[in-house]
Amino acid sequence: MLEIVVSPTSKQFIDRCEYCDAFILGEQHFGLRLAANFTLTEIKEIIPIVKKRKQKVYIALNRIIHEDHLSEVDEYLSEIRSLDIDGIIFGDLAVLRLARKYNLVEKLIYNPETLITNYETVRFFSNYGIKRVCLAKEITLDDIKLIGSKHRLEIEVLGHGVMNMFHSYRDLLTNYYRFLKHANLEEVRNQELYLIEEHRTDKYPILEDEHGTHVFSGYDLCTVNYLDDFIENNITAIRIDGLFKDDDTLLEIVKVYQKAIKDYYDAPSLYKSNKEHYLNLLKNIPRIRPFNDGFLFKKTIYKGDENSGSK
């Protein structure tokens, strides 16, 4: 079964969400762009609840690690190793080395956001014995299918949610407010703000937190019409990201995907005939962010291509 992985918006959401297969839980200090913060104590409380419902737990440990943070990452790994968890999501290769001494390598899920874009890279990481890789969001559906069809190891893609497109080490909003000599820095730090480029209309969410500054796409990615392509090409999991969503909105989104996947396994023809219906269900969810196909059908321009304008 195509697995639905959800990054939850709150503890209450988790209590209500029986419709997914796995949750991403993490502390904002160790995980990037999380929709909610869960301390280790809270994670320990949540694990038995979701395990009873046969759902899995993946710990978010995907921060970019500067030298001074290595020891606390090491410590965190040693603490979570005794927990009943099913995966550890990482984005910095340091974790792959640190996890060896705790025998956690087979639980590792590598999500470097932008860097897994071809099937040979997937093979490279399969040689390290990790559990799963997450593909970059910037490749096409054909690329995803080709990578999946080589089925080297578990593969996860973004199913629905905001696409991060920029991560700076710098506190760009605080810096800007300091530049303006603006006193109220709280107005920009850890706030949901957005940018509009002077010649464009898209609204790009921007978020400054302890890891620096993140900028996101104006539209959520929606893949509800391509789940058959995923399933038929050995994609293991889709991730539904709770960032910039409230509990209700996220829950309704997850339900639509769960129904679509269930329909497919009941009969692929049922799923295929219902595609318009799923889209309508999503469109009718109150407060849902605008969504589109992302890069699934939009091949980005390689510098060597004709008409790239960059020659």
């Binding site: 970019i64 030298e67 943070h69 290595l70 932008t114 920029f166 080490y169 800007y176 390689y302």
Partner: protein, 421 residues
């Protein structure tokens, strides 16, 4: 040009290399074409990095054919310098073909290393058992010693560290790895962790990680809060972009920290820029190595670089997390300096006539500095300008026109002529 205020790192906390164990680091310069490659090496670079037509970022600066690369390698090796070729794209499925042949060709030409970021390219290079070294590009954004050692253990010789690191962090990493460490010291900065930015993909469909970066971080933005209130003042956009890096003041610290290679960025830059920046850092490194214990960085080096640098500079993250002073706000674009007038092609000692190639408009009466490797400088006033057939001209108007001028001192090919400010 502005040098932002310097916040020195806490050097006393740094574990550093003892003065008598200091090794002279490599000065690594960019070369966008063969002429720039030669200039960079003549002006003191120990190594240059260039882009081939395939697998390389910086599309417009990646135009070296295999024949060009061969010529570049021959020139470099004759001068005791090295050539690194960037194969630093993050490859998509359709980019995988032809890599074996390409890498094998580079290796047989005698290229000294490839700079790469994609695990497929890295592992292919390793599996081919080439003589070339494998250098891990800054596109992997490596910020800690474990990640450095991941690649070192895999077979990489060198890691180009992320531009987010302070000198303290670099020094700590140095203590924990045997890998060669390369650090950026000058030039344009990604404000995002390199390799983790897809602004360009999202906003222009151009793949930032495959040579198409549109520099969307340097564009102008309005900033709003959740309630759609504009937070940007009317006269001031919000910007993400960073000032360029200039690490002049930190070179001694970087050398004491044990960095193996100091990298200048800018394959798109002019030969004037390359020659100036390279020779200043060359002199700075040499001056420091002569007497590490008493060496002081003076303003001389900064002033020399300013002769070719037209962009605002800062010290990046070397002194810690960048503040607003390292950011670029409301700067439309950089204006290239007009001081670079011509390059010397030849000199006849008997007649004292120099054959030169025009690069910017000038007229008789202009006071010039003729600038050569090792910061050799001579000054004069041009009294007359002739074309190739010795017809007297009232001005040097045409780009790249071959001209003749009289110079009362000996000059060499690749010497640069610039206006005295």
């Amino acid at each position: 040009m502005m040098v932002s205020c310097l916040r020195k790192p806490s050097i006393k906390e740094m574990k550093t290399v003892a003065p008598n164990n200091l090794k002279k680091p490599e000065l690594l310069a960019p070369a966008g074409d063969l002429e720039k490659l030669k200039v960079a090496i003549l002006y003191g670079a120990d190594a240059v990095f260039i882009g081939g037509k395939e697998f390389s970022l910086r599309a417009r600066a990646s135009n070296f054919t295999l024949d060009d690369i061969r010529e570049g390698v021959e020139f470099a090796h004759e001068h005791g310098a090295k050539v690194y070729v960037t194969t630093n794209i993050i490859a998509h499925n359709e980019n995988l073909r032809g890599l074996d042949e390409y890498l094998t060709a580079l290796d047989s030409i005698g290229v000294d290393a490839i700079i790469c970021a994609d695990p497929f390219i890295i592992s292919t290079a390793k599996n081919l058992n080439l003589n070339m070294e494998i250098h891990i590009s800054t596109q992997q954004s490596i910020t800690n010693s474990e990640a450095v050692n991941f690649w070192y253990d895999f077979g990489a010789h060198r890691v180009v560290l992320a531009r987010e690191l302070s000198i303290d962090e670099i020094a700590k990493i140095r203590q924990k790895t045997k890998a060669d460490l390369e650090v950026f010291i000058h030039g344009g900065m990604c404000v995002s962790y390199s390799g983790r930015c897809t602004l360009s993909n999202n906003m222009t469909d151009r793949d930032a990680n495959r040579g198409g970066c549109a520099h969307s971080c340097r564009w102008n933005y309005w900033l709003y809060n959740k309630n759609n209130q504009l937070l940007t003042p009317e006269n001031s956009f919000f910007n993400l972009g960073s000032k360029d890096l200039m690490a002049v003041k930190y070179i001694p610290d970087l050398l004491r920290a044990g960095v193996n290679s100091l990298k200048i960025e800018g394959r798109m830059k002019t030969i004037h820029y390359i020659a100036t920046v390279v020779s200043v850092y060359r002199k700075l490194i040499d001056d420091f190595m002569e007497d590490p214990e008493h060496f002081q960085v003076t303003n001389f080096y900064v002033e020399e670089i300013a002769k070719a640098e037209s962009r605002l500079t800062s010290t990046g993250a070397l002194a810690g997390k960048p503040t607003y002073q390292e950011q670029l706000y409301n700067v439309r674009s950089d204006t290239p300096t007009q001081e670079f007038l011509a390059m010397v092609l030849d000199y006849d000692e008997n007649t004292q006539i120099a054959t030169i190639e025009q690069r910017n408009h000038f007229k008789p009466g202009v006071e010039i500095e003729v600038y050569g490797p090792k910061m050799r400088k001579n000054y004069t006033i041009i009294d007359a300008i002739y074309d190739e057939s010795f017809n007297l001209l009232d001005a040097a108007r045409h780009p790249r026109q071959i001209l003749k001028i009289k110079l009362p001192f000996k000059v060499e090919p690749y010497d640069l002529i610039r206006k005295v400010r």
